[in-house]
Amino acid sequence: MNKEIKKDFPILDQEIHGHRFTYLDSAATTQKPIAVLEAVNDYYKNYNANPHRGAYYLSEKSTEIYENTRTVVKEFIGAKNEKEIIFVKNATEAFNLLAHSYGMNFIKEGDEIVISVAEHHSNLVPWQQVAKAKGALLKYLYLDEEGIITEEEIANKITNKTKIVSVTHVSNVLGTIQPIKKIIEKAHSVGAVAFIDIAQSVPHMKIDVSQLDADAAVFSGHKMLAPMGIGVLYGKEELLEKMPPFMCGGDMIEYVTEQDTTFAELPNKFEGGTQNVEGAAGLTSAIQYLNEIGMDNVEQIEDELVSETLKRLEELPFVTVYGTKDTKKKSGVISFNVEGIHPHDVASILDSYGVAIRVGRHCAYPLLNYMGVNAGTCRVSFYIYNTMEDVEALIEGLKNTRKWLGYGSK
């Protein structure tokens, strides 16, 4: 199935440094299928105009494309209505919006904000800043050896003082799936709001935000086949109603006088300025593409690739894999290190064989510090267009990496 899917991704059909291109960095950003590229192209060729403004045909079409995406996203993630879907640039902007609009207004001195040590900086630095500004305490949920937040941590760290819990569903470093349902329940039991980072889960598995009962959930389009520059903040209507606007300007107002403004209703209240309609067109197309494949199939494709890769990595005595090796507990991300070789050298050498992987600290310094690997890790991440040939290229490349740095002959 993935071999057929791969044909929809022209970028993968090329040689890099004289080798077949092997793209293993989809957790950073995915490649885009022809359908998405065409949707963006089609928008500019046939429908481009500023949405929500002009009373003419193209502006109405542009508005329709943009607003239709809201409906498509609502259905894809199980939101209750369109007012709960706010378009942003990416997950980072969504967390900044939450931190500034909710955190800065509702957190008081002595309150506690709870995140996990596995957070991407986008769900860490904004809360750290809120805590500093408000005199609140930022607390961390730590992980067990498999890379999973334990029940004890959830029970002990989330207390009556906790006002915000903001955790990732799937770690961008380890790929481990966190028990967010339990975390959300615990947050609610102490009267806190629960925000979740689904940037690394919504592209890979079926998500239902209403069933999870999250107060807010954020993700980026570019990690799920859509263009860069479009992301989503889902928020329960009652939460978003309480929050003041984040970015002020055009299109987010009702009335403006010289000294005062009344703001637009949801969702426009949070969408100041001309929005990314081409991104929305691409996001609709991306979601349709994923729906056609089916999220169950997406999961299955990744499961097979991850299982095979873990098995093959285990055969290499010089490789250490981090986190759980149980594919039921993880998504399509594997972090590892090659003994005696710094991750950046691994990446440069693999690149010379046409294999693209991510190395370093993955915008998660506190997690890498907690794991005791300050030099960082090598990370491979899969998506629907990867095949067993990609796994083979990775393993062969890794064997060569050792030789280049003096371990055995070239």
Binding site: I341, H342, H344, D345, S348, R361, N374, G376, W404, L405
Partner: protein
């Protein structure tokens, strides 16, 4: 891409030998260098007496390029005057930026010439120059 021009024997040897990776007794200048984007971190220690770099060493973590570049640099400046060391930094950075192409002019860099082709890997240039910028900062204080 020709890996042979980057991961040379000189680099592999310096990366694995660790002969300059230690503290310096009586070091008068200790300078930290850091590449935040990739996490390379070194701490360069120098003992400078009467304008001469008597000895140098380093500690830290980083890739083969950054570690080898630091080690090669220390071998090169040991016993040289502060002024000579400053000139070597300039020549090295000139080589990396491809502003100095004359092979004769580069000869003074000795083993550091092994890093000449790093400009073919733009993502790794910062690894190669880290030690040299750290030395530059350190020597500013040695005047």
């Amino acid at each position: 891409m020709d890996l042979n021009s980057i991961y040379t024997e000189v680099i592999a040897e310096h990366n694995m030998s660790n002969h300059n990776k230690h503290h310096i007794e009586g070091a008068d200048f200790i300078e930290k260098g850091h590449n935040p984007s990739c996490g390379d971190e070194i701490e360069l220690e120098l003992r400078i007496k009467n304008g001469i770099v008597e000895d140098g060493g380093f500690t830290g973590v980083g890739c083969a390029i950054s570690q080898a570049s630091t080690s090669i640099m220390i071998d090169l400046i040991r016993g040289k005057s502060v002024e000579e060391a400053k000139e070597l930094i300039e020549t090295f950075l000139g080589m990396i930026k491809r502003e100095i192409k004359d092979e004769k002019e580069l000869e003074v860099l000795e083993d550091a010439i092994a890093l000449k082709n790093i400009s073919n890997m733009p993502a790794r240039v910062k690894c190669a120059v880290l030690a040299w910028h750290t030395l530059e900062e350190s020597l500013k204080k040695a005047v």
